[in-house]
Amino acid sequence: MAIADPVSHLAGSFRIVNEELSVKTPGNAITTPSALLDASTKPARISRTVAMALAIGLVGVIAWFDYATGDFSLAVFYLAPVIVATWYAGRASGWFIGLLSAVGWLLADRPDGEPFRPYWNAGTLALSYGIVAHLLSALARVQAELRKRVEQRTASLAEVHHRVKNNLQIISSLLMLQAEKLTNAADKAVFGECRDRIYSMARLHEQLYSSDGFSDLDFAAHLREMAEMLVRSHTPPGCILALEVRAEPVPMDLDTAVTLGLIANELLLNALKHGFEGRRAGKLTVELRAGDPNQMIVRDDGSGLPPEFDARKNSGLGIELVLGMAQQIYGEAKIENDPAGGTRTTIFFPTLPPSKT
């Protein structure tokens, strides 16, 4: 099927209902799931007419009870229709119902020989109901304004989040394009590692955005996803690698999570690069243990560290970064040979680091 003019084809087949994504085909409306979601998540509001009918009915019922119960004061109950009218139909409607309530109270009042007092009391009641209606309408306005601001902030946050990730994508793309100019495989690998770090940080951002708050950040899930991604893309050729991730939920703030994620990234990359050289099979274990302090352990069953290895004297960038970042989260790194063979790195870190000043 030939499309002479794709723009008019789009315009003819689909009418863009709004700036966003809802579309309608001719004669066949598509209701997007989000539209349904919006309809179901917003609190149901009753219409002005229904609210006023309800309020007037309530005034009538309360006035009848007021009359039937004689001297028992039911003045406070007239507030119910005033509140209903003000909240759902506005301040003027609230004032009207307040006035109507005062009239209802007056009609229900039994004469006690004082010609002026019932009118005075009804007047003060009308004034009180009017004040309540006024305050309540102010509260409703503030609430509506706050809701609007929250919606605007939420939209802004979503946009910022989107731009952050788009920019991370551009940085990652630039690194890839720059790496193309390099001829040395080792140099190219450095750029690839940088892209992995960017990817790892982006995934944490994503989780932060989709969670309700910082305390809900699921670092265990992030660690699992990151380890799987790195093993998929960096397993040495010809080596069958088993990955085991045992991660307990550990509450942490965003700064700790980003830093710990970068540490895990370094340790996993290091193990994948050096731990299984010349081997046909191996095992990589990642553990996250909750406690005091918490521990993150990355272990491989590879060749292990050379006997003279000293992390403090090692001049490699990876080790330097791991030690520095461990300190940054008020923790400590321990790099050693595992008794069962291979290398074991443990990061000890507290749950709630002291606030940075």
């Binding site: 794709p6 087949s13 689909f14 994504l21 579309v23 979601l37 994508q169 394009l177």
Partner: protein, 137 residues
Amino acid sequence: MTNARILIVEDEAITVSALKRELVSLGYEVAGTASTADEALRAVELQKPDLVLMDITLAGGVNGVVAAVAIRGNFPVPVVFLTAHADDRTMDRAVSAGAFGYVLKPYSGAGLKAAIEMALHKHQTEMESRRGPGRVF
């Protein structure tokens, strides 16, 4: 499905350049690129790609979800979204547009390949089931 021909619909020039190289390194052929919805439709018609890799925010005012609906309505080609939008609402919309996959930016090569392969396989299965059962004897 190696050598599958993929159309890139993306309005960020740097990302397009990197994607082209990434796809080639993963064993695919780049059928073409487009930065707007109408360019995408034209390219699908002319290039007949095996798969469309579609961003959601596009130049030209019409977004990728609308473009995907138009493509899916006119051509038997699977669409995989490649986007920085990670919210449920946008994902729901992508699903309702008939997406075969959803890859978040920044992407990893392995993640991108997995999504493309799954989409191609799903599309192939769908096309075979539409054709109905073949002859048994």
